[in-house]
């Protein structure tokens, strides 16, 4: 049983993620997480002013249930299946992060420096998370999908548009990691 508490190997989790996508196809749906953001905007009334949000979100209710399940899964995994050995990243990465003043994982999923509750009192901290979120929301809808919709679902179905999007994800990611991130920290 202990094996469940340690970091799951990539081939196990990659395989299960593939099965998750396939089971949603079998259920007559598709695997895509960012489209829920659109449903949430519609639920909050965005459809009254903007045609893009004027759609029948109830047909997407199943996907919001997947989101709810994912939240419960995250809660259970962190509270009942954690181990101090988790998030053992490359020591070189830890060294590099230290030069930016970002704390080492020590079993945590996210650094205190960026995600600790102290960020609520830091304008820079709030700005980073808010701008990051904005880019994610705007970019995924513009591209018509995220890691689940394009990288997993789209590439599994050998879609060239998804390949373009995924290459775009990495171009953007590398620009952030190598050019912008060092300027922020």
């Amino acid at each position: 049983m202990n094996i469940l508490f340690y970091t799951w190997p990539w081939y196990v989790s990659g395989f299960i993620i593939g099965l998750i996508m396939l089971s949603l196809i079998y259920f007559g749906k598709s695997f895509g997480m960012s489209s829920n953001l659109r449903s949430m905007c519609t639920i909050m009334g965005a459809g009254k002013r903007t045609a893009f949000f004027d759609f029948d979100w109830k047909a997407q209710r199943w996907n919001l249930v997947v989101v709810l399940g994912a939240m419960l899964g995250g809660f259970v995994a962190v509270n009942f299946m954690s181990d101090p050995s988790n998030v053992t990243i490359n020591p070189k990465t830890i060294e590099q992060l230290a030069t930016y003043g970002i704390d080492a994982p020590n079993g945590k999923l996210a650094p205190q420096a960026l995600f600790g509750n102290e960020v609520f009192t830091s304008i820079k901290g709030i700005a980073i998370l808010l701008i990051g979120g904005l880019l994610i929301g705007f970019g995924t809808r513009y591209a018509g999908g995220c890691t689940s919709g394009h990288a997993i679902s789209g590439l599994s179905n050998l879609q060239i548009p998804s390949l373009k999007a995924v290459i775009g994800f990495f171009i953007g990611g590398l620009i952030m990691a190598y050019l912008i991130f060092p300027l922020i920290f």
Binding site: Y26, G28, C41, A70, G73, F75, R141, I175, A177
Partner: protein
């Protein structure tokens, strides 16, 4: 039962992404620094599993749970939206280390600060909806 199966799929998704640390900011940072194979392994294995599964579905004409033929819509052919939208998303992904799935999962995991990311993501989605017709697709 209809709703329950989606809850279960989401639950497994949340556990797998948390336990494989794909929801971890550190893992995304490490991936973009090319200092670990872990994330590449996860994505590649998921795609290989998916390619094989979809080929089986297509070749054996497997029906869905309600007995309907499975039709997977092709993505609309285009350039600008995938390149520009993709790059914009990539910038955000590498900054906050979370794509939409992990945003929800991390909220469940108890990271309150992720609500700021979710708020930003909703605002970004809304802004796209507002400016959609003015953007090159």
């Amino acid at each position: 039962m209809k709703v329950l199966k989606f809850l279960l799929v989401g639950f497994i998704f949340g556990i797998v992404l948390t336990k494989s640390e794909a929801v971890s900011w550190y893992r995304i940072y490490e991936m973009f620094q090319f200092q670990s194979f872990h994330m590449y392994g996860i994505i590649t294995t998921a795609i290989i599993t998916g390619v094989i599964g979809i080929q089986i579905i297509k070749r054996k004409n497997i029906k869905d749970i309600d007995g309907q033929p499975i039709v997977i819509a092709d993505k609309e052919n285009s350039n600008s939206r995938y390149w520009i939208g993709g790059i914009i998303f990539g910038l955000g992904w590498a900054l906050v280390g979370a794509c939409p799935g992990p945003i929800y999962i991390l909220i469940g995991a108890g990271f309150w600060s992720i609500f700021i990311v979710l708020f930003g993501a909703l605002l970004g989605t809304y802004l796209y909806g507002v400016f959609k017709n003015k953007l090159p697709h």
